[in-house]
């Protein structure tokens, strides 16, 4: 069986477990919504200022939600020593990374796709913004690339719930900045060329982190 088929196997296993347990998506969804609500109060948002603060609030919610979700990525494998079971399989360690990455990327996307329309409605912004989907996709990929790697690091530390955000947040600063700016461009209905730089930054970040994580993942999981 090919490498790709094995990545899909791990991915499908994660989807199936998530469909049964509904642990990750539900909790992340609720948490992200709460962040949106709290930030709206914190900035005492009115409709006329919405466009200014909205991108920031959306991405704060998705970033913190992401941290919560990625905590789960490898915590699931730690139970029952399942990670050892995976490690026994005659596959390249990068396959395990990509399989887990596919799962966490999907969960991040699902949460973002549900949260964003709710969020836009709450702030009386236009709901149908196809360009936003591209921004969400690129940012989620960057989040998942870093989050999956650091999730595997964090599960083998004490105080692992704290370790993940401490590792994850500084590194994803470029993605957060780029996603906020690109979202602002979309909300203000400006042209493609205005968001091009931000999209490029996200693409560069995604590629760099997918490559580097693939290379170093081996050292994270191998004793």
């Amino acid at each position: 069986m090919s490498t790709f088929a094995r990545i899909i196997t791990i991915f499908w296993k994660d989807i199936l477990t998530e469909l049964r347990a509904r642990e990750v998506v539900t909790s992340v969804l609720v948490f992200s919504l709460l962040v949106v609500v709290i930030f709206s109060f914190a900035f005492s948002t009115r409709i006329d200022t919405a466009e200014l603060v909205a991108p920031g609030i959306l991405w704060a919610a998705l970033t913190f939600g992401g941290v919560l979700g990625f905590n789960h990525t490898f915590a699931v494998e730690k139970e029952n020593s399942r990670l050892e079971g995976l490690m026994l399989c005659p596959v390249d360690r990068a396959v395990i990374y990509w399989g887990k990455l596919a799962g966490s990327f999907t969960f991040t996307m699902v949460v973002a796709i549900i949260i964003t329309p709710i969020f836009l409605a709450l702030f009386n912004l236009p709901l149908f913004l196809p360009r936003l989907l591209l921004v969400i996709g690129l940012a989620s990929l960057g989040f998942a690339a870093v989050g999956t790697l650091f999730s595997a690091v964090a599960i083998n530390t004490r105080a692992r719930d704290i370790m993940l955000p401490v590792l994850f947040l500084p590194v994803v600063v470029p993605v957060v900045v780029a996603a906020v700016r690109a979202t602002a461009v979309v909300l203000a209905d400006k042209s493609w060329s205005d968001m091009l730089t931000w999209l490029q930054i996200m693409i560069a970040f995604d590629i760099v982190y997918l490559v580097v994580s693939t290379l170093v993942f081996d050292f994270v999981v191998e004793e």
């Binding site: 370790m163 401490v166 500084p170 590194v171 600063v173 970040f205 170093v216 994270v220």
Partner: protein
């Protein structure tokens, strides 16, 4: 071997001391006061030297992290770890002296300029590096995780810099000198950077030596107690 190492250490120490005295002399006596900003501009020499050397420290951590993961020799890890520690201390100083200078030069403590933001992110990343080592369930794991963070975190630096640069296009950094940098200023800066580089090398070597000693002692203790 040990004797030679001691000699090198003493020579470096002497050199460092001489350079540091020279640097202080140049900063306070030799270099003329910059016209537009006045005397406070003299913070610049140490501030910039510290920033450069902390960047060098993280570069060393990056390189030795890669070496450690390839060969798994503990001595590479000691150097990477010690270097990151010194880097964090120096970056902390950059983040303290920066605002003091900024307050007088620009009238604000902090601005989300590319350099400042990058330094802050760098500082947070290497705090995470030290934390992940401290919280790892085994020292061998800590070394591996540290190396991974040391690599991934360092690669982030140019991306952060680029991003923040585009994000905030107005640069306060362009108005450091109204007349451009003069020869005495450049000389002073070079001597300061040299002094801090030597200090960095001394501190890192000392730190790595301590880590190596600590490990041998722990191993001996375990062997004795069974």
């Amino acid at each position: 071997m040990n004797g030679r190492r001691n000699l090198i250490n003493n020579l470096l120490f002497g050199l460092g001391l001489a350079l540091m005295i020279a640097a202080l002399y140049m900063v306070f006596m030799y270099v003329p006061t910059e016209k537009s900003m006045g005397i406070v501009q003299r913070i610049f020499y140490f501030h910039v030297s510290l920033a450069w050397v902390s960047f060098l420290a993280f570069l060393v951590t990056f390189v030795f992290s890669i070496c450690y993961l390839r060969k798994r020799l503990l001595k590479w890890d000691y150097i990477a770890h010690a270097s990151a520690e010194v880097g964090v201390v120096f970056t902390t100083l950059v983040l303290i002296t920066g605002p003091i200078w900024a307050k007088t030069a620009w009238g604000i403590w902090w601005t989300w300029d590319a350099r400042l933001t990058t330094s802050l992110v760098l500082w947070l990343t290497y705090i995470a590096y030290l934390l992940v080592r401290g919280y790892a369930t085994e020292p061998a794991r800590g070394a591996r995780f540290g190396a991974v963070v040391g690599i991934v975190g360092f690669i982030d630096v140019p991306i952060v810099f680029l991003t923040v640069n585009v994000w905030r296009t107005q640069h306060p950094t362009t108005i450091i000198f109204t007349d451009g940098i003069t020869a005495p200023m450049l000389m002073t800066l070079v001597v300061c950077i040299a002094a801090f580089t030597v200090l960095y090398v001394l501190l890192t070597a000392q730190g790595a030596g301590l880590k190596s000693l600590e490990t041998s002692i722990k191993r001996l203790k375990i062997r004795r107690t069974g």
